[in-house]
Symmetry: C2
Subunit: 392 residues, 2 copies
């Protein structure tokens, strides 16, 4: 059969066609009233999408750029910080904090596991100026307990910084209620557009902290971006095409919510949860093990490669036979697992389709598979979900 190139990777994710077209057609200059109106609308919509009253700032960069901003703006050399890490992105927080001269304490869990609030409680000290963590660790598929960890920080001066690059649009956060000081997202994730924009919502106490911190920052200066953002501008030439795409994507999410962006954003989370539940059930029905056994998130499902099978062969088979791009393990995890994304623009048909492909791929790498068993399990999950009832 013919093959369509389709991304099932946890970023870049599948692209929204109306956003692709908006991107191609965008010919705006960034210092015009037309662009200012778009930029202001996108920043306001991102607040709704994030679910926070805090000001949102945006950078032309990958998500790592906003992570760097959360380190360089909130710390001074020598500051003590606490990092929660159980994967490649947790390790990125450690590297970033060290690059900016911080003393880094880490709370660690094995790849595929989650760090518990109890572990964090034992490690947290009053002189930790910030705690850095992931909401969703994209390298393992684990969801960390942001709410539980946030509760520990109440009444302390430790700022809570959450890389939610694959958490937004897949997990419900009460950003302001829980007290998340910085929550970070990226364009190539649940918002369905190509990579190149990063954004974050920043709390009052984080803004205050920046008045005294001493690490250098220029391109990723949060206060400068906030000041210019209030005028509908970015400090430096923004990726105008991607901003147009993001505007179109947020409009789509609003439409999905019947004209209400907050409703559409919640629906997107439930959509990812349903796709993830279907995929997990299918994998287990096919005798596979989830890599994130105890706390799998809805952004992606990480599946442990069957014994004796290199996951690189599974990834190749998906591509070569079906045009479907799934992700291998990262770093030391390469060969051990593969990852199927659910965040953003994946619907029921995409989910059923990739599960069908999974059954074939497993048979192809010599695994004994009852064809249809994974699909049946997925169907049962869907039939019992609120998703099926909502549209009945």
């Amino acid at each position: 059969m013919i093959r369509k190139n389709r991304l099932f990777t946890p970023g870049p994710t599948q692209l929204l066609p109306s956003a692709q077209l908006a991107m191609a057609a965008a010919t705006m200059h960034h210092r015009t009233a037309e662009f200012r109106a778009l930029y202001s609308k996108v920043l306001a919509d991102l607040k709704t999408f994030v679910g926070s009253k805090n000001d949102v700032v945006m950078f032309t960069a990958s998500g790592t750029g906003a992570m760097e901003a959360a380190v360089s703006n909130l710390t001074s050399p020598g500051d003590k910080v606490l990092v929660v890490t159980a994967g490649k992105f947790g390790e990125r927080w450690e590297s970033l904090a060290k690059a900016y001269g911080c003393q880094v304490d880490s709370v660690r869990a094995a790849y595929g596991e989650t760090v518990s609030p109890e572990q964090v409680k034992a490690a947290l000290k009053p002189d930790h100026v910030a705690l850095y963590m992931q909401a969703s660790e994209s390298s393992t598929g684990v969801r960390h307990d942001v709410e539980g960890i946030a509760r520990l920080l109440k009444g302390t001066t430790t700022l809570l910084v959450v890389d939610s690059i694959t958490g937004l649009g897949t997990t419900k956060f009460d950003v302001d209620g829980w007290g998340i000081d910085v929550i970070i997202g990226g364009s190539q994730k649940a918002v369905m557009i190509p990579p190149g924009l990063a954004y974050c919502a920043v709390s009052d106490r984080a803004w205050q902290r920046m008045e005294s911190t001493k690490n250098p920052r220029y391109y990723f200066d949060l206060r400068k971006e906030r000041k210019n953002g209030a005028k509908g501008e970015s400090s430096y030439t923004p990726s105008t095409a991607l901003v147009a795409a993001l505007g179109a994507a947020l409009d789509y999410i609003r439409e999905q919510g019947g004209g209400d962006l907050a409703t559409g954003s919640d629906l997107l989370i439930r959509n990812a949860e349903t796709a993830a539940a279907m995929t997990r059930a299918a994998a287990q029905a096919l005798g596979l093990k989830l890599f994130a056994a105890s706390s799998p998130g809805a952004a992606l499902t990480a599946i442990t490669s069957p014994e004796g099978v290199d996951s690189s062969d599974i990834v190749k088979a998906f591509r070569n036979h079906f045009g479907a791009v799934v992700a291998n393990g990262q770093g030391e995890m390469k060969g051990q697992l593969f990852r199927i994304a659910h965040l953003g623009f994946y619907d029921y048909l995409d989910t059923i389709a990739i599960i069908g492909a999974l059954e074939n791929v497993l048979a192809g790498v010599g695994r004994k598979v009852e064809l249809g068993a994974g699909l049946k399990a997925a169907q049962q999950v869907y039939a019992q979900s609120s998703a099926s009832k909502a549209t009945a």
Copy 2:
């Protein structure tokens, strides 16, 4: 008459349609053989476009990101640097170097003027670790004497860093022969695609310098990007869509050069030079003054607003009557001048057209204009140029 929205701004510039379509159609994941091949080709093509044997690295960021990289990677806190400044982008070098704790000496000229090598010679000290300058100061339209200044640095340990964001594709550089240690470009300029990618070519002695410099860098770490670039990868998720667009644009420049990218790149420079010469002649024939009187570059023409006329009214008239977006002055220069771009995707028809619009706009703001005088002067320049002969 109907109005088409057309950018005559020195970045973003007019977009190449094949690049817009490549951008919209790009659905690659960045960790695939297909994308690695594209990325490697783009990096190799950029070396040819820049005209250097030095390795090129690319960042998902505006040009300012690569400027920051040239400061954070090449200096340590307390280092003395020399900045050549005669406009808003020169001032950006000063701010950047200060943000990274450098002691900044500046060689300054008034807006619209150029800094001479003699001035630089008088200010240069053996302990300046780097000299930062623009090739083309986009805020005033001035072209600085990169070759003359480079000559002063021969035999010294001062690194030469040239922001050539509007210089590349508009000025011929002998990057390796003159000894430019870092030369910086951006996507939304002569390479005809939207903003969001910055690139730079870095010399051996600049790579060596980075082994001992102490300023923090993470997202803009040049050595990490170089190492990953050699494998066809970027350190962090790149703007895949913009990389696809850049690939298409470099292919277009190659085609224009009859299948040779270096020839196409030279042709692009001569193209901008011809468009700039036509525009300057037209402006002068219409009794206008060039803002960059002594050393106007080919990236753009900055024209002083006629006495008693706010250039904001000229910018508005271009937009409202003709859909043409020209740039106002930046910062304190707002209201005093307007800027018409020539870098990148502007041909003979575009150039004649904007000059026609200029005559009408001037008449509209109450200036006495002999309609056709500017056009005639432009035609004469074109007729005498090698451009007209090359296609005769």
